[in-house]
Symmetry: C2
Subunit: 441 residues, 2 copies
């Protein structure tokens, strides 16, 4: 974790706690940024690393006090998107009236067919399906937070490094909100993700290298005058951005009747999503919105990019970077920034981190489609595949409530299943031809 | 409209008003099937054409009587999907508890940026964006109704002829509900639609011919013992299937605060969707859920398959079939079954039917993406393009509330915009290379 470089950039881009209008920044209940390592608190601004210890910053809150029942009712009466949780997010109270994509409140699907297929007790397995978000991945949740921060800090260009899904989410959100956008992707992405990143009319820059190269480049750009005035959603706006993943925890619990599930299976790319889901669950407990109870968090990686899984299995606290080689490109981050925190959470909750190979990913995509009618992208194949593996190994308890995340859409990673999902037969339009094809049921 | 053939098949497949269990068919408020031409009423069953006059059958209801305010409250307290309208649909009251895809309650997006771009008064233009449905098209709405009918009539195989979107919707719904599926598509569909139709594990049959050939083949199959026991969602279950489109009307009005918009722009393939949206609006008026007021319905076609637009412009009551040649394949039905009814409705409401060419379709897709962050499939390009054209021609009033439908997802028709939505630049990961590319803002 090359923190020195990050911190010196943070100092360069530090801003006062007021937006470009000179008024105090209004990000709702967000009261400041606190260092995850040393606890030092900073004013809200486009900074992401602690000046003292170089630790990552995260949003600190003054969360609503008072009757949990009343807060629950207020949330339940809110819009069918993430803004029902606005009182718990770093956004102004009137966020739902501003132009944005209004993601979230995606289905929590009771997956009885899948449960039977992989040996879980029917009624106990759920898929949180984020493919219905506006740009068909969970990234709409995090970008929506970063956009509000960008507005508050007076940025006019939205940017990011991306493995594809984020590029589309930033492009779309910027278009709706009237921002310019310039997004950076590895040059070898899936065609669907490239077109989706380009169609919204912003600048789309392909970098000759993998995601870690793209990320390094963006870190350089943000410290250079060339990047001045740019809001990089996952760099200088990262503390706000990350908070969007908490909404997955909120929705899952509310959809289960304000109950924390016993087991959650979450994909790991940078690891941010998993750590923020844990943060969201802890907040719900603190607020009294759910009862405190034990839960286990399981992280899922693809074998071809499994630095966190490798560290977990080896009993290490540090994550050794890997050079990714997997079809699960949205998870192909070889040097995951939040890897050590993921290890902490998996161990603290009694969970685990596991990985599956590309063949198992493809198989899991098809099992999920065949059993539940959900067409997941490769990242969903990873979580479903890992769930199956952990059930088989006796690590996941099949009699307890388990929620598996599908964070993206199969239409963006068609190549993974294209060869094996073609027409069963091609025939002339005649009954004889149909009879000869042997498909009558 | 070769009605004789259809009617004789209807007689062959007629069933008693009881399901396979021998109990009375429970499809909620649906009381029978009535002929759209002569008004004759039949018992609920898997039939689709009148025995007397060969006219198409549609569902007749005993709709809930009583206080509209109470019904509105009941609907508003319902689930965030089409089943909030279960009391107005041909489905059992407990439909939400059965395994299905729970589509609907998709966003009605206030499209101020698009409004400014095409000359509509900001605040007056809305996009009903159905790309967030489970299989990313409005077809999930209609299939969900057909599935309940199939359950009620004891079918175990779900089938359809499809231009692509329907195939995916049937495959997914069948998988979730535990039905077998066998879907029929033209052999030259977009890759995304083929893979999505195949991934759910049912049989996928490519027919050498266009959609009209596929449709003809399915009509033959349903009259043959080979097709016995099959529920063809858009043939022998068509009366139920079509009702799903009413939910678009319900949602639009509820999302506008229980108000009918002044103008609606709706794509025309078979024309069924447009006629059922009109039916839905009329029901809302009858039930007192909205105030009675004038509204204009505009139909949108692609120039390369514009039989209804041609008939409208020529002042004809009959629709002359065309051989489709357009990139808007989901609308490429050269012989649209409901064409004459569409003409009636456009004329009765003071609307129109218009078409745009493929270049305008592509341009409209990109305008919608660039202004609102919505990536539509070609059918959405058709409706947005037609809206722009009708505003320019002074046919649509830019000062009145207008709702434009986007019925599908850009990821399924990537080819339409792939050439023009690639990376702005491909560079090495260095600041110098970025500077040289001239993209600094």
């Amino acid at each position: 974790m090359r923190r020195k470089g990050l911190a010196s950039m943070a100092v360069q881009t530090v801003a006062p706690a007021t937006g470009s209008t000179g008024t105090t920044v209004d990000l709702g209940p967000a009261s400041g940024l606190s260092c995850r390592e040393c606890g030092e608190v900073f004013a809200l601004g486009p900074i992401f690393a602690c000046e003292l210890c170089f630790g990552p910053l995260e949003v600190a809150y003054e969360l609503p006090a008072g009757d949990p029942e009343e807060l629950r009712r207020k949330i339940e009466a809110g819009p069918a998107n993430i803004w029902r949780y606005a009182p718990l997010l770093p956004v102004p109270a009137d966020v739902a009236e501003k132009p944005n994509l209004n993601p979230g409140w995606t289905p929590l699907v009771k997956a009885d067919n899948l449960a039977r297929e992989i040996g879980v007790e029917p009624g106990k397995l759920f898929v949180k399906d984020d493919s219905g978000n506006p740009t068909h991945s969970f990234k709409d949740r995090v970008v929506a937070q970063a956009l509000e921060a960008a507005r508050a800090f007076g940025f006019t260009t939205l940017s990011c490094s991306s493995t594809g899904n984020l590029a589309g989410a930033v492009g779309a959100a910027a278009a709706r909100a009237g921002f310019r956008s310039c997004v950076f992707i590895p040059h070898d992405l899936e065609q669907g993700k490239v077109v989706m990143a380009g169609v919204y009319g912003g600048d789309l820059v392909a970098i000759e290298g993998n995601y870690d190269d793209v990320n390094r480049f963006c870190s350089e750009l943000i410290g250079d005058p060339l990047g001045e005035g740019w809001g990089f959603v996952n760099v200088n706006l990262r503390p706000y951005y990350g908070e969007g993943s908490k909404t997955l925890a909120y929705e899952i619990c509310e959809q289960l009747g304000w109950v924390i599930p016993d087991q959650l299976v979450i994909p790991i790319a940078s690891g941010s999503q998993l750590t923020k889901i844990d943060k969201g669950l802890q907040e719900l407990i603190k607020l009294g919105l759910v009862e405190d109870k034990p839960y286990k968090i399981f992280g899922a990686q693809a074998e071809g990019c499994s630095p966190v899984s490798a560290a977990f299995k080896a009993g290490h606290d540090v994550v050794r970077p890997q050079k990714p080689n997997t079809i699960a490109k949205s998870l192909a981050i070889g040097n995951p920034a939040d890897g050590p925190y993921v290890l902490d959470i998996a161990r603290r909750t009694g969970g685990a981190v596991e990985d599956v190979n590309d063949e198992q990913v493809v198989d899991a995509i098809k099992v999920l489609a065949r059993t539940e009618g959900i067409f997941a992208e490769t990242a969903g194949g990873v979580t479903v595949g890992v769930t199956r593996k952990l059930v088989e190994n006796g690590v996941i308890d099949p009699s307890l409530t388990t929620v598996v995340l599908n964070t993206g859409d199969g239409l963006k990673t068609l190549d993974a299943v294209a060869d094996s999902s073609q027409a069963t037969a091609t025939i002339r339009p005649s009954l004889d031809a149909f009879r000869d094809a042997g498909l009558a049921h």
